[in-house]
Subunit: 210 residues, 2 copies
Amino acid sequence: MRIAELAAASGVSATSIKWYVSEGLLPPGERTGYNQTEYGNDHLTRLRLIRSLVEVGGLSVAAAKDVLAAADDPAHPFGDTLGIAQASLPRPTSPPSTESLARVADVARRQGWVVHDGNPGLAAAAAVLDRYLALGRDDLAAVLPAYARAAEVVAEADLDTVSKKLDAGPATAAQTVVVGTVLGDALLAGLRRMAQESESVRRFGTGSPS
Amino acid sequence: MRIAELAAASGVSATSIKWYVSEGLLPPGERTGYNQTEYGNDHLTRLRLIRSLVEVGGLSVAAAKDVLAAADDPAHPFGDTLGIAQASLPRPTSPPSTESLARVADVARRQGWVVHDGNPGLAAAAAVLDRYLALGRDDLAAVLPAYARAAEVVAEADLDTVSKKLDAGPATAAQTVVVGTVLGDALLAGLRRMAQESESVRRFGTGSPS
């Protein structure tokens, strides 16, 4: 198909398609003549994945490129793909404090988790705690144990979907990890707002502007 | 204090401070002479809040402005503040399908939630489902009931922190809602990655690149 057809089928503009090619996220099409390039179904599949990561998952193009490169490499061990998908978090602009890191690590220990020091989630969670402290709102950290219990329920469901796809080959397993990790954050954030409204109505009789 | 001192104390550059003032997120300082402006502790407190929302919470400056305006208004009902803080989600670029909206609403109903149709989380969750379907990965939607259970645990903890601050006045309650909602997503995403690593190690013996 031509680039205009690819744009219509994927919902991604021709300008963005050209940009993704120039940035190395999408392989170039096949030159079939002067100013003519043909794209195939592989391009469409790939564009849908890119669009999911960038538009719905909120990844930067640079982060999406790293994640896709990891998922593309057939020699990449499963644990590495998970590690790279896990890095799809806003990076703290300054390193979190050792106090907050220790506090999050302690919550993980009480939950019985085995987590290495370099886990990107540990730094991200500690960065949030630092912000609570900087705002003088240490009380907000009281949610930690409940959030950890919830995170465990989510992670079990995540690994269940990975387990069910182990026979489908490494490419599918990698896609599961990448898509499930990145878009799963958005799914969880959405459900959390629904539950907040419901819980607010239950306690205070009001939860929404309408 | 002068702008350079405010920048040093807040960790926000003088250029960004001037931008936040021009965008209406931060009140201007007091002119004390030619090319001299004085800032107070209120500015420092406000900057820490802006920095939390933008740098750690990942909000755009426009979204942070809306959220802060809602939290600032003493006449704003609590339910409205929650509603506006809830809108701090990536907006779907196209409306979600009615099928996905119905599917998420059904999960909410089974969970016993009362949620109005315009809840921004409903649209965000449905947009993720649409992406799973577009990628041919309907199997990923199997996580929905587990995610909903986890979201309920999180929302209960969220409303607990709000309840404990009801006596501290509307400004504190609004700050709790805004900070807790926006940064809570990042905290939960971090803990989820820790739990994923731990669960991956438990099942597959590998979970991290190190």
